[in-house]
């Protein structure tokens, strides 16, 4: 039998079943229809199933599929007719489906809230034209201090305020002091040393400062540093970029306030606050790149100007997620971490 003939036999049977079942109004009527169409011996379906055997081999899969669909359709029609006829549903035996059971939820991992914050910052700053750069965490004094205009007698260079690497074994001659970077500003220097101007970059990463751990301090934390060097970059642009950033990060209309401060690598230097939700929030430090920093990397401060800013990522992260103890971020407790699924 050709496939087309088989299909029309099925269609005929389905039309027949639909017509017959429409007039049925008693459980007995439904039962007789069930026998007529799905009866094991001479039911209409059985007859069609026999025809299936005569379909050419290559058409069998398609024909079989169609047959199964027809069987399901008839069973549906019978069920509907039984409902209409008001007969008692047949008592079901065997295991029952419990549709109220919880779903088979995949156990997916969660990104650390600091990673989420870093990615968020990269995304916002990227839209403002700042490209991501990186630098090493273990630095020499040139990049961590000297080039950043932090002179030898500056308190920031005190060995007790930094993680200097202890001298390796006596057999290795000392090659100058190395330390875990105390700020991501080191990357500014590396980028300016190696990248043609103008540039607009951010660098994010771990920094290290000896601090006794408590709810708001941890000796390792993350910073985001921004740097824009071009002809005629002004403090007004610094303020504007920081406002655009804050508006994107915090949402709503945010105002920026500068308070004078002191950092060796910027002049003028400011602390940046945001007016948000009715209060001033400390954001971080910023300023115009100090001419000494430009000179240290061979850039003429008469020709180029720029601004830099730095902020603590933990503080932003903690504010965003309502985290109250910085130490929780570095305890690896999955009950803590899994709260920040997003």
């Amino acid at each position: 039998m050709a496939l087309e003939s088989f299909y029309s036999a099925i269609d005929g049977m389905l039309a027949d079943a639909q017509a017959c079942l429409l007039g049925v109004d008693s459980p007995e009527g439904v039962e007789s229809m069930r026998i007529q169409f799905t009866g094991a011996k001479n039911g209409a379906l059985k007859t069609i199933q026999k025809l299936l055997g005569t379909v050419p081999a290559e058409d069998k899969p398609a024909a079989g599929k169609r047959f199964n669909e027809a069987r399901e359709a008839i069973e549906q029609l019978l069920l509907q007719a039984a409902d209409r006829a008001g007969g008692k549903p047949k008592a079901v035996t065997g295991p029952l489906v419990d549709p109220t059971l919880p779903g088979l939820r995949p156990r997916m991992g969660v990104l650390h809230p600091i990673t989420q914050t870093l990615e968020h910052l990269k995304e916002i700053m990227g839209r403002l034209g700042f490209n991501v750069t990186e630098g090493p965490e273990i630095e020499d004094e040139w990049h961590n201090f000297v080039a950043l205009n932090i002179p030898e007698d500056h308190p920031a260079r005190d060995p007790l305020d930094n993680f200097y690497l202890s001298a390796a074994k006596a057999t290795v001659p000392s090659t100058g002091a190395r330390l875990l970077r105390s700020q991501t500003s080191t990357v500014q220097i590396r980028v300016m040393e190696s990248t043609p101007l103008p540039l607009r970059i951010i660098s994010l990463g771990r920094v290290y400062r000896p601090d006794a751990p408590d709810a708001t301090h941890f000796p390792m934390f993350h910073q985001m540093e921004g740097l824009w060097v071009d002809k005629n970059v002004t403090m007004a642009q610094l303020k504007s970029v920081l406002r655009l950033f804050a508006t994107s990060y915090l949402g709503g209309d945010v105002n920026v306030r500068f308070r004078p401060s002191f950092f060796p690598f910027t002049e003028p230097s400011v602390e940046v606050d945001y007016w948000w939700n009715g209060q001033w929030i400390e954001f971080g430090g910023a300023g115009m790149v100090d001419p000494n920093v430009f000179r240290a990397v061979g850039i003429d401060p008469e020709e180029w100007s720029g601004f830099a800013f730095g902020l603590g990522v933990e503080r932003l992260c903690m504010r965003r997620f309502g985290i109250t103890d910085i130490r929780d971020l570095y305890r690896s407790d999955v009950r803590f971490l899994r709260q920040f699924a997003s």
Binding site: G109, V110, H112, F130, V132, E137, P260, E271
Partner: protein, 673 residues
């Protein structure tokens, strides 16, 4: 810096209410910490940045207020009558250590009557937290809190022969300070000594021996200038921080010695009587000239992005104490005051102008030109990696970069050299820069285990620090994983990452069975590219698991993300699919336990040739009843497909037959039919 509102009014009369003044200070550089009322007087705690030593005295703070509110500043005139006897006739100063003490001056007052200070005077000191001692010591403290120059009064009778020597301390020399404690000095510290020994630790603290007491009659008043580095070092080393060391560390006004010394004498005479000898004993009479700086009008606008009226700029700088030596419409030449040693360059002057004008004047809607910017390949790769890890049930952790000594600190699959360490530990006991992420991940798993959270899967992406000879260490970005029991869980994550990030580049990977001492024997596998390790996976050795108290079997692994990135193909390219149907054949081999998938797969691939598109491992199971001990069954599926034609089943049969023959020959594999 604690500032008494009442004391301040000696120098500047302000109409503005306290709150307004405090706000203005905060927005011009003196951050407001708090205000407290002490004995009925407001006392304001101001945070003074380290470049503003001039504000470590009431006069400096008053000067700020006078500029901000355009009120005159009144500085007391330290005048007094001297007797004709010259100070130099009874006191001498020899400075042997100019690097640490650039200038030392001494004045002499005779016949003082030491006693308590008058109440109004004592109250001022109390209000800013200085304990009144006696009228002489109180005056030295008062003047320090007035102008920021530390002073010291010696009982002249305790200075042997009136001869002051400023010298290096002798190593291990001891000194009893006025706090009654004994300090062991070293040769980098500066002492004020007489022939007998140290009288004071220069710039830090006076000595008990020569302190002014009720019985003191004659005084030697020291006003000196000590080098910041030297003072900081001494104060740090001895853990002896004083208001004096705090000010010297921040660099005092080198020309302020004389005023402070005179003011001190004037007030002592007022409070304790006595006569002031003529003149001063001075180790180095000199006037330090302030920095000569010029300011270009155009530059102010270039830096700030706003126009400040030129006359206003000039006025601000003058009010702050700069002496304008030449002024044109476009440029100012001036000399900065020596109490403002932070003003040495044009940029410093611009900051002065803008902080007095107020940063509010700077707009926050300036134009920011657009530039192109795109995610780096690395960020894209990290996104893929994190998505795979999270989808596989791994939670991300971040752990300190330094680890402590313990059972696991020797885990170092990437480098055989000893780890780097810091001189101060990051956290208690953690001073070793990790060479692998695994020790941290084990600690993280342990922490969760202790909270009764089992079967955690964790990952971290962070640098490891691999020493390499003498240069900077190699910082290698790693992807580290820990999971329960089966290393294939981690291997699968790595395979998925590699497949997504390298695409067909994975063919360059050579897989080797490896043994690391921290792994359970026979569980380790590593991937190499051009002989360099890209990743490894295995089970933590039972011995290490036991000694670190980890329960159950633990799988660990690391992937070098720097190498991963170096060959990343981040945009997948279409591969044309064969239009002809594939034939799948399942094969079930019985083999010896020792036969490994890697070898079997290679045999199959070679035997099947290029019509075999894929060899998929299904499972291993054992049926010792049927097959006997030492045997296992490996079930696999071959996908056989041609790009040129529809294969007939005889072709597939022939291919499968050659596979079976090869597996029999090379691995003694028996096909289960």
């Amino acid at each position: 810096m604690l500032v008494s509102w009442e004391w301040l009014s000696d120098y500047v009369k302000l109409d503005a209410p306290l709150e307004q003044v405090v706000d203005k200070w905060a927005l011009s550089g003196l951050n407001h910490e708090s205000t407290e009322w002490v004995e009925g007087v407001p006392v304001i705690d101001l945070e003074v940045t380290s470049n503003r030593a001039d504000c470590l005295g009431h006069i400096g703070v008053a000067r700020e207020a006078s500029v901000l509110f355009s009120k005159p500043l009144t500085i007391p005139r330290p005048e007094f009558v001297e007797v004709s006897e010259e100070a130099t006739s009874i006191v001498s100063v020899e400075n042997q250590f100019e690097e640490a003490c650039s200038r030392y001056t001494a004045r002499v007052i005779r016949g003082v009557k030491v006693g308590p200070s008058p109440e109004w005077f004592a109250k001022r000191l109390r209000s800013i937290g200085v304990k009144p001692i006696n009228n002489v010591v109180d005056v030295t403290n008062y003047v320090m809190m007035e102008i920021g120059q530390p002073l010291h009064a010696f009982d002249l009778s305790r200075v042997l022969g009136g001869k002051i020597v400023v010298r290096r301390a002798v190593d291990k020399e001891t000194f009893v300070a006025i706090d009654h404690r004994t300090y062991a000095l070293d040769s980098q510290m500066v002492v004020i000594a007489d022939a007998k020994g140290p009288l004071a630790l220069g710039g830090v603290m006076g000595g008990l021996e020569s302190e002014v007491s009720e019985s003191t009659v004659d005084l030697l008043i020291e006003a000196a200038s000590f080098a910041p580095m030297s003072i900081r070092r001494a104060a740090r080393k001895l853990k002896l921080h004083s208001p004096s060391s705090y000010r010297f560390e921040r660099r005092i006004d080198p020309n302020g010695l004389d005023w402070a010394s005179r003011r001190c004498c004037q007030l002592i005479q007022q409070l304790a009587g006595g006569v002031i000898l003529e003149g001063v004993v001075d180790s180095k009479q000199e006037v330090v000239r302030g920095a000569v700086v010029s300011l270009r009008r155009a530059r102010v606008h270039q830096v700030l992005g706003i126009e400040v009226p030129w006359a206003q700029s000039k006025r601000i700088l003058e009010q702050l104490g700069c002496e304008v030596t030449a002024a044109t419409d476009t440029e100012l030449n001036l000399v900065a005051p020596t109490y403002r040693q932070d003003l040495t360059r044009e940029a410093d002057l611009i900051e002065e102008i803008v902080r007095v004008v107020g940063y509010d004047a700077i707009p926050e809607d300036a134009m920011v030109p657009m530039v192109s910017s795109a995610r780096r390949p690395k960020d894209i790769m990290m996104g893929t990696l994190r998505a795979v890890a999270c989808a596989s049930g791994f939670d991300e952790t971040l752990n300190p970069s330094l680890i402590g000594k313990g059972a696991t600190d020797r885990i170092s699959p990437w480098c055989a050299q000893d780890p780097l360490a810091t001189s101060v530990p990051l956290l208690e006991g953690a001073a070793v820069l990790r060479r692998s992420l695994v020790p941290s991940l084990i600690a993280a798993r342990l922490h969760n285990q202790s909270q009764s959270i089992r079967d955690v899967r964790l990952f971290e992406t962070a640098n490891v620090y691999l020493p390499q000879g003498e240069g900077l260490p190699k910082e290698q970005l790693n992807f580290g994983c820990i999971a329960e029991s089966d290393p294939r869980i981690i291997r699968g994550v790595f395979e998925e990452c590699l497949g997504r990030i390298w695409g067909s580049g994975v063919e360059a990977i050579e897989e080797r069975v490896v043994e690391f001492d921290f792994m359970e024997r026979g569980t380790g596998i590593a991937w190499y590219v051009d002989g360099v390790m890209l990743a490894w996976v295995g089970s933590l050795s039972k011995a290490l698991a036991q000694s670190s108290k980890i329960e159950g079997a633990v799988a660990i692994g690391e992937l070098d993300l720097d190498m991963l990135l170096s060959r990343a193909v981040l945009v997948p390219r279409l591969r044309v699919l064969s239009p002809y149907p594939a034939i799948l054949r399942d094969l079930n081999f019985i083999v010896d336990e020792g036969v490994q998938w890697q070898g079997l797969r290679r045999t199959i691939e070679v035997a099947a040739g290029k019509l075999c598109k894929e060899v998929v491992f299904r499972e291993i199971y054992r049926d010792t009843k049927k097959d006997g001990a030492g045997k296992k069954r490996i079930l696999l599926t071959l996908t056989i497909q041609s790009d040129e034609e529809t294969l007939r089943s005889e072709q597939a049969d022939a291919l499968v037959a050659s596979v079976i023959t090869a597996c029999q020959g090379e691995h003694a594999a028996q096909l289960l039919s």
